[in-house]
């Protein structure tokens, strides 16, 4: 019994020593010892080198016990993303830690070349920030990180919030580094990324639409209105997708020519018809229930008037849809995933087709039907 007791005591002592020894001596990473990158911009310079611009917060102790958090922007050039980051590390005190990065902004030039190669380093790193948002900046991404918007002193908060709120009004679905990776490799399924313009005068970024991508490259752009339409055609309804259409042309007061509707509910059906010689015809039936948000010209006091407006809206929407789809076909961006559907359900035909070329030539027929279901709290 006594030996058992000493044995137990010995074990306890051993355990205690082990606990003291095992406090993570090798792999501890202290925040105070690293520079947390929270936003990054990537550009390509004329020689094909990568310019990496990063934003990290620095806390300055103020005079009256108030500390100020400031965003600091640095940028560096290298042959690859990692090389550029490496060169950054040489300039900045403390080591960079990119595992908390919230947003990646690509300069237009780089996006048109290849975005996968620049992101490879993130996919490869176990601590890589694969859930950071991705967007494309018109012009240089470096510029986008040098502005100082009044909404927020920290750019790493400004951009994610901006993207989230624009996504809510229906321009795009938020894509992360991981989600686009799947789409980059997927056959017959492409993606859109938010497309930003920097307004230096106002010191702000503005979402002006979306950038269409095919595989790893940006191949075209859509305006905001077209982006919203494409998203709805894809069967995705965000919280507040809105459209403004011109319905009149003969008033002095220009404001009275327009109607603004908020899409309330959608129902989309995609039908793919393939002839024996692989001619593809896609029928996109989209039923939209809309709320009238703004209609300065008239009052919706009767169902007849609403019906008339339904017709006008249906016509306008169909025209917009046709234009949008033509643009995606020109950019070879199969955002609707038609190719993937053919691959999934008509594999025999798919094998005979070459989607890289065929997507441009298929016929996509939108068939939109708009119904006004609400008109706000006045008629």
């Amino acid at each position: 019994m006594k030996t058992l007791l000493t044995k137990k005591k010995g074990l306890l002592l051993g355990t205690l020593i082990v606990i003291v020894l095992l406090t993570g001596c090798w792999d501890q990473r202290l925040i105070k010892e690293s520079r947390l990158i929270l936003a990054a911009g990537l550009d390509v310079d004329p020689d094909g080198k990568i310019i990496d611009t990063v934003v990290y917060p620095v806390v300055n102790k103020g005079s009256n016990a108030m500390s100020m958090v400031k965003s600091v922007v640095v940028s560096s050039t290298g042959v690859t993303t990692r090389d550029a980051r490496f060169n950054l590390d040489k300039k900045v005190s403390q080591i960079f830690d990119a595992s908390r990065n919230r947003v990646f902004l690509f300069g237009e030039k780089l996006a048109q070349k290849d975005i996968y190669s620049s992101l490879d380093v993130i996919y490869r790193d176990p601590r890589g920030s694969v859930n950071a948002m991705v967007a494309v900046v018109k012009g240089k991404a470096k510029k986008s990180l040098e502005i100082q918007p009044k909404d927020s002193t920290l750019l790493d908060i400004y951009y994610p919030e901006l993207l989230r709120s624009t996504s809510a009004i229906g321009l795009f679905e938020i894509e992360t580094v991981q989600s686009i990776c799947t789409l980059m490799f997927d056959e017959g399924n492409d993606y859109l990324l938010p497309y930003l313009r920097i307004n230096e005068q106002q010191q702000r970024a503005e979402v002006i639409g979306t950038a269409m991508f095919h595989k790893r490259k940006m191949t075209g752009t859509l305006t905001g209105k077209e982006s919203t339409m494409l998203l709805l055609l894809n069967g995705v309804k965000q919280d507040y997708p809105r459209f403004t259409f011109k319905i009149n042309d003969n008033k002095d007061m220009k404001e009275r020519n327009y109607i603004t509707v908020l899409v309330n509910d959608i129902d989309r059906k995609m039908k793919i018809h393939i002839t024996p010689d692989q001619k593809v015809r896609v029928n996109l039936a989209l039923k939209m229930d809309v709320n009238v948000n703004e209609l300065p010209v008239d009052h919706l006091d009767s169902a007849r008037k609403a019906n008339q407006l339904n017709k006008t809206l249906t016509r306008e929407m169909n025209a917009l849809a046709k234009k949008t789809l033509a643009k995606t076909q020109k950019a070879n961006c199969d955002e609707l995933g038609i190719g993937k559907r053919i691959r999934s359900f008509h594999y025999g035909d798919w094998k005979k087709m070459n989607w890289e070329k065929d997507y441009r030539n298929i016929s996509i027929e939108p068939e939109i039907k708009v119904t006004i279901v609400q008109h706000g709290i006045i008629n």
Binding site: P126, T176, Q178, C181, T182, M184, F185, F345
Partner: protein
């Protein structure tokens, strides 16, 4: 030779014993391994291999039913004589030790890669085997109770994976059977080796205090659970990654979970890995037990396996330290999986045939 009477487990614990032995280090790379052979029909491969394992389990059951109070080792002595039997027993001990080392090796490799890049490999391996020694030295029923308890963690495992249903594309599994039958069968082979661990039936069965048919029932339940669990994991990975990206991610489950982020919790892969470490531990313990139980059978006087655990653990640690780097560790574990052809498929079936032909059975006690 008889076992110690009091060291028995229930048939309920037996279910978890086999589940925990099966679910282990391979689970992270399992969907990828199958995918390389069977493409997006991998989930079918898993189901087929589940059926094959069921057949094997029935064969094991027939064998063990003839020797109700013996483990594989005593059966070997009994059917093939102590000379040949001794040799095969030795080989089995080596095999189980090698599986143990490959578990340790893969474990250290993944932890090094994913969470602790600077921590030396030997430390991770020694820590894991230390836990193994501690758990296995006690009676089998302690081990079984521990297995039942940590099986709760599998629920966390499933929940973390289920979350990904929000981000998958169902079109990815179509067209079903695109590549034909051969790739699916090749995938079945890979799936079978990811699900290895059911051979513990041969070692653990005599410890189960219940009727023969109940033992089969327990083993079948665990096989069904593991098969469904594995095909579910494989299916989710296919739905998440799609057709082309999958070939880039050797640890698809971790990679998938890494891309999620909750409001309060980031880096969920760390949470996932912590749960996974327990599963690795349980599989390692199972093999550690199997090997030391084998050593014990060489010394008929001794009725306790615990003195041998330490030696087996040391040997497995030393072997596991030998391969270094992703490719070497991969080669080592492939080598070990190929050995299981002999030790899990070949020899037990041969043994069954032999005992059927020679009409050997355990003598019934009066």
């Amino acid at each position: 030779m008889k076992l110690k009477k009091e060291d028995t487990i229930t048939s309920f614990q037996f279910i978890f014993l086999i589940i925990q032995a099966q679910v282990g280090v391979g689970i992270l790379s399992m969907p990828f391994n199958i995918y390389t052979a069977a493409g997006h029909d991998s989930w079918i491969s898993v189901l087929i291999s589940g059926c094959i394992i069921q057949v094997l389990l029935i064969l094991f059951w027939i064998l063990m039913k003839r020797f109700p109070s013996m483990t594989l080792y005593e059966v070997l002595d009994n059917t093939t004589g102590s000379f040949i039997g001794g040799g095969i027993k030795g080989l089995y001990i080596i095999y189980f030790t090698l599986v143990g080392s490959s578990i340790l090796s893969l474990f250290a490799e993944i932890i090094n890669l994913w969470i602790l890049p600077l921590t030396p490999r030997w430390l991770l391996i020694v820590l894991m085997s230390g836990i193994g020694i501690y758990a296995v030295r006690g009676p089998v029923k302690f081990l079984a109770r521990f297995y039942v308890f940590v099986s709760l963690l599998l629920i966390v495992f499933v929940l973390l994976v289920v979350y990904s249903f929000w981000e998958v594309d169902y079109l990815n599994i179509f067209p079903i059977g695109e590549k034909g039958v051969m790739p699916v069968l090749k995938g079945t082979e890979k799936a079978l080796f990811s699900m290895i661990g059911f051979e513990m039936y041969l070692i653990m069965a005599p410890y189960v205090q219940s009727t023969a048919i109940k033992k089969l029932k327990s083993a079948s339940i665990s096989n069904v659970v593991v098969t469904i669990f594995y095909s579910f994991l494989t299916l989710i990975c296919i739905l998440f990654f799609g057709i082309k990206e999958f070939s880039l991610v050797p640890e698809p489950l971790l990679y998938m979970i890494k891309s999620f982020s909750f409001k309060v919790l980031e880096r969920i892969d760390l949470l996932f890995l912590s749960v996974w470490i327990v599963s690795v531990g349980t599989s390692y313990m199972a093999y550690l037990f199997a090997a030391s139980r084998g050593l014990m059978s060489f010394f008929p006087k001794n009725k306790d396996h615990s003195p041998y655990v330490f030696y087996v653990a040391i040997v497995s640690v030393l072997i596991s330290l030998m391969p270094e780097g992703v490719y070497k560790v991969g080669q080592f574990s492939t080598f070990v999986t190929h050995l299981s052809y002999i030790f899990v498929l070949g020899l037990p079936v041969l043994l069954l045939l032999l005992s059927l032909l020679t009409h050997r059975k355990e003598k019934q006690q009066s």
